[in-house]
């Protein structure tokens, strides 16, 4: 029970994980900053707010499976800027009703504020900021994969343009803070949905990949409803599936202790 809270302190779930705006029909190739900014916006800031039910299946090297299921609520304070989240756990059974609240800040000087609600103790706990390259709820996804890695952290280079994708290479400005030497992102040219991310280790060997395996258009927003991360080093993989996705619900100022303890009904059902 206690592990999940720590684990999940990682959360800063971006609701429309990889959602996209209107297809861009412009024939000429935009510069790399425009591409990554646009992909970031469509991936993590679609609509003003949103919700989804998320199911994760974590498979380890031995083939043992573990499941996570939770509902998330997201509201943007400003587009491309700060965000607020709830994560309400449903599975596994020992963390049911546990909930997370995150106030995420894009200012690199400011750590996110995080709270955890433990229902059995009726306790609202404040969680210390954690390493963003930590596993999210024990899965192969990292906190940063789901909350979005700040564009300021990397130098971006457009290394390939195919019929379908812009391929952007991202090299960390502070290599000592991460376990990879660089990662490549393949961004759909029409929808700006990041379809594949490949991480290379310090020996420049591919060791980790995230793929968007199913994209749907929901309320005009392209939304990744299925994705999978594979870790070639550990032999583990995690599949993530979104359902019950809804945008622009006009969520009020609900990201408080009150609704951490008990979700707003209209938002969750």
């Amino acid at each position: 029970m206690k592990q999940i809270w720590k684990i999940a302190s990682i959360v800063c779930f971006s609701l429309p994980v990889f959602a996209a705006d209107k297809p861009d029909a412009a024939p000429q190739i935009p510069d790399v900053q425009t591409i990554v900014s646009k992909a970031n916006i469509v991936a993590y800031y679609q609509g003003d707010d949103g919700k989804a039910k998320v199911k994760m299946v974590i498979t380890d090297k031995q083939g043992q499976k573990r499941e996570r299921q939770f509902n998330i609520l997201r509201k943007d304070v400003s587009d491309g800027g700060d965000q607020k989240y709830f994560v309400y756990f449903e599975l596994p059974a020992d963390v049911r009703k546990m909930a997370y609240m995150v106030h995420k800040y894009t200012d690199p000087q400011k750590d996110d504020d995080r709270w955890l609600y433990l229902p059995a103790l009726s306790l609202v706990k404040r969680i210390a900021a954690g390493d963003k390259r930590t596993s999210f709820v024990g899965s192969d996804f990292l906190y940063e994969d789901v909350s979005g890695r700040s564009l300021e952290e990397d130098m971006h280079e457009l290394i390939q343009t195919t019929d379908q994708f812009f391929v952007v290479k991202n090299v960390p400005k502070r290599p000592d803070t991460v376990e990879f030497s660089y990662f490549n992102v393949s961004i759909d040219r029409k929808t700006y949905v990041p379809m594949k991310m490949e991480f290379f280790d310090k020996e420049n060997k591919l060791y980790r990949a995230i793929e968007s395996t199913k994209v749907e258009k929901i309320q005009d927003f392209y939304t990744v409803v299925k994705s999978v991360v594979t870790n070639l080093k550990t032999g583990g993989k995690t599949e993530m599936e979104f359902s019950n996705v809804q945008y622009n619900m006009n969520l009020g100022d609900i990201f408080t202790e009150r609704y951490l303890q008990r979700p707003p009904k209209e938002a969750m059902r």
């Binding site: 206690k2 592990q3 380890d60 499941e67 059974a93 059995a120 009904k265």
Partner: protein
């Protein structure tokens, strides 16, 4: 006896509500999609657990077995348009006390009648304050026996039979928890944990069970606890008030054959927020021992100031450390000393430090933690090591201990030195 009466009342409330609800749901059938609401939807969850532990040394006054029980917790919830119903109870087969038992943990109705109000009525777990296993303004009942014999930490919180009303405003929020009949701690009475008896001037246990004279009248012997709180830039500030009784015995009757729960009023404040890379918290409380305002009565607890400061930070990936410093300061020490009948006087203040270390390993399926209380003034220590491994999503194995030692036989933790124990547990959650 009183417990079973309360349980009955709660059950009646719950089932009555259930019936009302079934009717209400039935009535609203055609407005919503008829198929799913025609029956009262009840979510059923819980766990089954086996837990066993032994003392590591002989205790003259207690059994070697510190805990040996199996437990089935049923957690039933029903969500309706106008309210949430909750029922959570534990069926326990206890080999130490050689009896079966039922512990009703929660039986309540929650409703959100307006945008600015929440109400929860019935048996419930109540918690507030900023301390980590140290409590100043949280005057809701604790179960110290469960804590010391190695039950899950959730059992440190004993349930309250209360009504809690929460009001939410632009400027601040207010919680009021009213308990019509005093809910004391499940305190150490010698039944399962040996303790220092000041009357006998020695360690005692089953040979000297603490008998109490408890304030017991419905509405006459009530408790009220309030919290006024707000956030300023995510710094959480709160003011607290409490009117009731010392939660564990805080004195004796004049015949000195019964422990009593004297009147207690508490006024306090707390703050919590980000400091550097971690979370800092501060809390303070004035304990006004209302039956002994002057501090002269040797049979009743003195008034106190209590202070707490804490800090938690992630010191490495999946590795968290928390430290706290806590002080209890007697306010009328002079009168206390002058009126002390015989025996050694206690120190004016008690200092306590805590250290929490929590490490997650193996894809966060293995949690190793150690929580340590150390009092430099009492010169005693209480350590709570625990290792919990999640074999699968449903099954968890646990091993842990409760380790007490100290220089003196009569200090807060030192008195429990013969209760040092280790335990093993297996829990299947559903």
């Amino acid at each position: 006896m009183r417990r079973s009466l309360t349980i009955k009342i709660c059950l009646v409330i719950w089932f009555t509500a259930g019936t009302v609800v079934s009717v209400a749901v039935g009535a609203s059938d055609d407005k919503t999609d008829g198929s799913s609401v025609s029956k009262l939807p009840v979510e059923t969850h819980g766990f089954y657990e086996i837990r066993g532990g032994y003392r590591l040394q002989n205790d003259k006054y207690e059994k070697d077995m510190s805990i040996m029980e199996n437990r089935l917790q049923l957690d039933l919830a029903s969500y309706l348009n106008w309210a949430d119903l909750k029922f959570k109870g534990d069926f326990i087969g206890d080999l130490v006390e050689e009896q079966g038992d039922f512990d009703l943990r929660e039986a309540n109705i929650f409703t959100r009648p307006t945008d600015y109000m929440d109400v929860k009525v019935g048996r419930q777990i109540l918690t507030w304050g900023t301390g980590d296993l140290v409590f100043i303004n949280d005057l809701f009942p604790k179960d110290w026996e469960s804590f010391f014999i190695g039950r899950d930490t959730e059992y440190l919180k004993a349930p309250s039979d209360a009504a809690k009303v929460s009001l939410f405003g632009d400027w601040a929020n207010l919680d009021v928890a009213f308990t019509p009949q005093f809910d004391p701690d499940r305190f150490i009475d010698g039944q399962r944990i040996s303790y220092w008896s000041s009357n006998l001037s020695r360690t005692a246990g089953q040979d000297a069970i603490v008998h109490t004279d408890k304030p017991n009248d419905w509405f006459g012997d009530s408790e009220i606890a309030v919290r006024l709180y707000r956030n300023i830039s995510n710094y959480e500030l709160a003011l607290y008030g409490y009117r009731g009784y010392w939660k564990s015995p805080g004195g004796q009757n004049t015949a000195m054959n019964q422990a009593i729960f004297p009147d207690l009023n508490v006024y306090g404040a707390s703050a919590r927020g980000t400091i550097a890379k971690g979370i800092g918290n501060m809390e303070v409380g004035y304990y006004e021992s209302a039956d002994d305002q002057s501090g002269k009565d040797p049979l009743i607890n003195n008034s106190e100031m209590r202070y707490l400061a804490g800090y938690t930070q992630e010191i490495a990936r999946d590795f968290t450390m928390g430290v706290q410093y806590y002080i209890e300061y007697m306010l009328d020490y002079g009168p206390y000393k002058r009126n002390l009948p015989a025996g050694p006087a206690r120190d004016r203040d008690r200092h306590l430090t805590t250290l929490r270390l929590t490490r997650l390993l193996m894809n966060q399926n293995l949690q190793c933690s150690l929580f340590t209380y150390y009092s430099p003034s009492d010169k005693d220590v209480y350590m709570r090591p625990n290792v919990n491994y999640k074999v699968s999503d449903n099954l968890a194995m646990e091993i842990g201990g409760n380790i007490f030692f100290g220089d003196y036989p009569n200090t807060f933790f030192g008195q429990f030195h013969d209760n040092t124990n280790v335990y093993l547990a297996m829990r299947y959650s559903f």
